[in-house]
Structure formats: C-alpha cells, structure tokens
C-alpha cells in the first residue's frame, strides 16, 4: 500500500499530450511481466494505474521502467509534467500480464488501438528478443491520425526488420499520409497467420477491442486464443478497494489481461 519514492530520469514526448517517463525505481530485483502495471503517484495530486511500456537502461544501482502517460486528468497531467530528477511515488508491479509462455511456437497477432500500444510494447520487445521461439509475428496498429502514432521511430525500425509484419492504419489523414486509412479491424483480414496455431493480444478502447475480437473470430481464431487488456478504475491495485470490479472479476487481481472466452458475456453488456 505504501509507495516508494522513484525518480524520473528522462522524459520523451510520444504524441499529442503523450509522454514516456523513464523512471528509476530505486529497486534492483523486482521482476516485471509484459502487460503489468504500476500505480504512480504525483505527490499532492493523486495516484493512477499506468501500464509498463518498456524497460529502461537498468543499472546495478536501480531498475529503470518506462511508463507512457497521456495527460487527460489532473494526475496524469501532473505526471506528464515531471522532468528529470523529479520524484514520484511508485507501487507495483501489479496484475496478470500477457500470455508470453502460451505464445511460444505460435503465430502471434498483436492488435493495438491508440494508447493501447503502450502496454503491448513490452510484449513486442519480449517476442523480438527471442524471435526464434514464435511463428509469424504481426502488429496491427490503429490510431486516430498520423500525428497520434506512438513510438513512431521504433515502429519504423521494426518495419525494416524482415521477421515482423507491421501494419499501421489511422482513422483519418491529410494528404501527406501515405499509409492505410480505415479502422484497425479491417487490417485483420489481410494479416498472415495460421488461425489453427495463433494467439492474439489485443489492447485499446473497449469498443475497438469488441470489434477487433469479431474480426479475429471471423479470421478463424478461437475464443480461448484471444487475450485482451481490460480497463476499469483501479485504485488500490491489490484487490481490496472494490473499484475495478468487472462482473465476477477484479481487474487488478484477475487481469488486466484476460482471456476472451472468460469475459465473453461481460464484453457484450453495457455499463457492467
């Protein structure tokens, strides 16, 4: 329950109102899993859950973790204003991450929408660091406009690799944009994977995930091979405060990554 004092080492702009903080945690041995999150406190303002978006250059003295924040509320805006050397509170990591073990030996289809790319980024790093363990790796990324594309330089670098397929689409664009325009769900039909031996990792706004799952099922994936990261209001992150209830689950304890066949009915319900 008690945060430790962590420090921002670097801060990088990754999109309109989006900042990636490279945070020195002051710890050396905390294992993190792709898809997990930390609770970050802007002192005097409040605390919010932020997914890990990568690992920084850890040293013998301290681990470094990346968190990508969009300044939308008072806390996230205060976090996004933190600069090198500034202190913040950190608790975590918490939650169930992406099923990296289950992905071994299979084609991996990653579908990200908007800021949903951030929690999937550590999963991509994990896949690419041990590329031989997996089949085809595909990243389908949809966002609002070309200006909103996160981690653009990294996406471009990945695109130059021959062992990962990357498709980026935006909802609308001015004429300078040469890439795809259209919703991310339309990319699924063009992706190359063997639905009999594939696993899908999906993260984005709930509406986008709902329709992406439909597209993945239309492409032949079974419900038990689709994983999504559920968003609910996480306050305590340790299953004690009741805020992140999602039907029978507590998202902080049983998620945020959940297998689709286990939450199928919930996803179809309004205001659950």
């Amino acid at each position: 329950m008690l945060p430790r004092v962590a420090r921002v080492r670097r801060r990088r702009r990754d999109g309109p109102q989006v900042w990636t903080l490279d945070i020195e945690t002051g710890e050396t041995d905390t294992a993190t899993l792709p898809g997990q999150f930390n609770m970050l406190t802007a002192f005097g303002i409040g605390e919010v859950p932020i997914s890990l978006s990568g690992l920084g250059e850890s040293s013998a003295a301290s681990q470094r973790l990346l968190h990508t924040v969009r300044a939308v509320g008072p806390v996230s805006a205060a976090l996004a204003r933190l600069g090198p050397g500034d202190a913040l509170g950190l608790r975590g990591p918490f939650g169930v991450g992406w099923p990296m073990a289950a992905a071994a030996g299979r084609d991996v289809v990653i579908v990200a929408g908007g800021l949903g790319l951030a929690p999937l980024r550590p999963a991509l790093h994990h896949l690419l660091a041990d590329r031989g363990r997996y089949g085809n790796v595909t990243l389908l990324y949809g966002t609002r406009s070309p200006d909103d594309i996160l981690f653009r330089r990294e996406l471009e670098a990945w695109r130059r690799r021959l062992d990962i397929d990357i498709e980026v689409t935006v909802d609308h664009a001015r004429s300078g944009w040469h890439g795809h325009v259209g919703v991310v769900t339309t990319l699924v039909a063009h992706a190359s994977f063997d639905p009999q031996n594939a696993i899908a990792l999906v993260c984005g706004p709930e509406v986008m995930m709902r329709f992406t799952i439909n597209a993945l099922r239309d492409a032949g994936l079974t419900d038990d091979t689709i994983y999504l990261s559920v968003e609910r209001n996480m306050k305590c992150a340790v299953g004690l405060c009741g805020h992140c209830q999602y039907g029978p689950t507590l998202v902080c304890r049983d998620g945020p990554v959940m297998r689709y066949d286990r939450v199928r009915g919930l996803l179809a319900l309004k205001e659950i």
Binding site: L2, P3, G44, A87, G89, N233, L240, Q245, G265
Partner: protein, 380 residues
C-alpha cells in the same frame, strides 16, 4: 462455536465484564442510545446500554420504542455496524515530506488500540468473517484492518427479538451465534431476575470469565436461552431464499426489474454505508498550501457514486439501473466468485435505511418472477 459449559452472569456480572475488559486495556464499544437510534459507542458500564429500549424496523422505517421491561439487548441492530471500528470510514495511510527534490514517505502508525466489541449479533459476526475474507485472505492484506481485528475482543449477544427487516435465517447467518466470538451471551429472565447465559468461544474468553463472578447455568436456564433464540428465529421479518440467487441474478442482468428499481433508487449510497460487509474504499490525497507535505487518506466509497467506475473519459456505470445492479449482483452473486462467500448476511439494514424503502428480498423475488431460463447466462 465450540461450546463451553454454560455459565450465568447477573447484570452486575455484565458490569464486571465491562470493567474487566477496560482494566485489561480494551476500549469497550457497545450499543447506546443516541440521536433516537441505537448506535455503537464507548461504553463505561451497564448504565450506558440501551436498557428498556427496542427498535421497530420496516422498509425505510426505524423507530425506537420503550419496552415494558428492563432488557439491555432487547433491540435488533441499528444503522451502524462494527465496520465503523474495524474498517473505519477514514484511515490515514501515509504522509510525504518534500525538501528540495528529496521526498520522504512515512507510513501512518499501525493502530495499537485494542477494541472490545460488546453486543455483536450473529449476522454481524458473519459480516466480520466476510470482511476478514476480503481484507485478510487474499494475496494482499489490509494491515490496519489486520491489526484492529487481531486485537479485538468480541462479546456476542444472541438475538432475543427479531426486526421487521431481518432475514438471517434464510442466509444461514443467525440468529444463534455459531462462531467468531470470544464470549456469547443470551439474555433471559429466570425466577424474576434478568441474567445472561454465557458461553466462551476462545481461551481469551475463558480467561476473562474466570475473573468474573458467575455460576454454572441450570438445565432450565440453558433451555430458556435456547427458547429465546428459537422464538427470534421463528419471527423473522423477511426471507431471501438464497441458494440459487447467484445463478438467478447472473442470468438476468438485462431483466426489466432493474429499470423498475432504478425508478425508485436515489443512488444515495445509504445501503452501502449501513451494510456491514460493504468494504469499498477510495483514497484522497491532500497537500499543504506550500506543497511540501502531502498525505493520503483512505475513506469509504460507494458503488452508487458516479466517480466509483470512472475511467479516463467518463464513468462506466452512469445509469442508476447499472449502479443498483452492480451493488446487488455483487452482494448476492459475484461476491461468491470473488471471495468464495455471499456478501449478504441478512441483517436488513439496507432495507431499513433505504430512504425509499427498496427491499433487496423483494427485488430478488421480482427478478425470479420474470426470470430467463436456467443455463442462459451472461458473464460466463
């Protein structure tokens, strides 16, 4: 409750019990009349107890009435539950001090106060056991709750009267105390004298009894104590046939009754405040004017507020329909999946203290009446 041989305490003996608890360093909390209600407050001696008072309860109604005798525990339950003391409405978590770029976080001290809870009903013991499961049995525990809970001494009292909104029999949580108390009392009148038949449920309880003036209970007194509880059980005001309720609610998440109850529900959150198992909390951060000192406080929250389900961009549950559904399905259904127990003990407080008299047992009956077929279920 592992039964000890039963003893008898007189009213003076009960007074001695309160005194001995105080001598041992306990802050004794028990029932007392305040603001026209029976509340749980500090108790110095038996004179502080609600002697000769009872409560009349129905949906949206609570009235204190004089009894025609001197019963000390002749009422049911008031608006408060023991969570006010074990899981308090406000808890300081930590303070942080900033000096330049340096920040130091100091945890709030763990509670050291030892509480003796006097007059805990069977439904309330079950409620405490449920909060234990939620706050103590998972991978993470609430350290403050654990400290308060482990230090607590519990004197339970079997119910001799039943309220109009009680339904503990159908929830199998009362009215007879079956576990979780250090001492359990049953108030009876024998040979014209008001006495308490006493059982101990722990070594702590037995040790305290050894310090009190008491005698062994006679067969007649034991029989009368049993009869008192049996009469209360037979007079239950309400009923919630519980076994199939989780399934029933989960396959009726789109039942028109949710719209109906939403027309009445004010989303005031009273039911969550008076509920002895509702455990939800939020945190508030405050800061000194110069920003050098900040503090985080945990406080009770309610799933009836809009903020409760806030994620960036707005709340998930904006309609009162969805918020009432969340509360009731959590209490009676999804609580099982989350914590392996029901979240309802049948104390009836949510019915009594609802300003518009919404009755959870009636809502379940209405949903049952227009239920979807079995096996056809959401959320699976």
């Amino acid at each position: 409750m592992a039964l000890s041989r039963q003893s008898v305490l007189t009213v003076d003996g009960l007074d001695a019990l309160i005194g001995k608890l105080r001598e041992r360093g306990y802050r004794v909390i028990g029932p007392s009349v305040r603001d026209h209600a029976i509340v749980y407050d500090d108790i110095g001696d038996v004179a502080d107890l609600p002697r000769g008072w009872t409560d009349e309860q129905d949906a949206g109604q609570y009235r204190l009435r004089r009894r025609d005798d001197d019963a000390l525990f002749g009422y049911v339950v008031g608006p408060q539950s023991w969570k006010k003391y074990l899981h308090p409405p406000h808890v300081a978590l930590w303070r942080a001090r900033r000096t330049g770029k340096d920040v130091r976080i100091e945890p709030a001290p763990e509670p050291t106060e030892r509480l003796a809870l006097l007059g805990v009903r069977s439904c309330e013991l079950h409620a405490i056991a449920i909060q234990d499961r939620v706050l103590l049995s998972g991978a993470h525990v609430d350290p403050g709750y654990r400290a308060r809970r482990e230090a607590a001494f519990i004197v339970a009292v079997n119910c001799g009267v039943t309220g109009g909104t009680c339904f503990c029999v159908s929830m199998r949580t009362g009215p007879k105390v079956d576990a979780g108390a250090d001492i359990a009392l049953t108030e009876i009148v024998t040979a014209g004298e008001r006495v308490f038949v006493l059982e101990t449920g722990s070594d702590k309880g037995a040790a305290l009894l050894a310090d009190l003036p008491h005698r062994w209970a006679s067969a007649a007194e034991i029989a009368e104590a049993k009869a008192v509880v049996a009469r209360a059980a037979a007079a239950m005001g309400r009923d919630l046939a519980a076994d199939d309720v989780p399934e029933l609610l989960l396959r009726n998440l789109e039942h028109p009754r949710w719209d109906d109850v939403a027309q009445r529900c004010l989303t005031c959150g009273n039911c969550t405040m008076v509920c002895p198992t509702c455990f939800c909390t939020t945190v508030e951060d405050t800061s000194s004017l110069d920003g050098t000192e900040t503090a985080r406080t945990q406080r009770w929250d309610s799933c009836f507020t809009m903020d409760f389900s806030y994620i960036h961009g707005g709340s998930v549950r904006t309609s009162s329909r969805s918020r009432y559904r969340q509360w009731m399905t959590h209490k009676l259904a999804t609580w099982h999946q989350q914590f392996g127990t029901s979240g309802c003990v049948g104390c009836g407080r949510c019915i009594t203290w609802c300003p518009v008299g919404i009755d959870i047992t009636e809502e379940v009956r209405a949903i049952r009446a227009g239920s979807r077929a079995e096996g056809d279920r959401h959320g699976d």
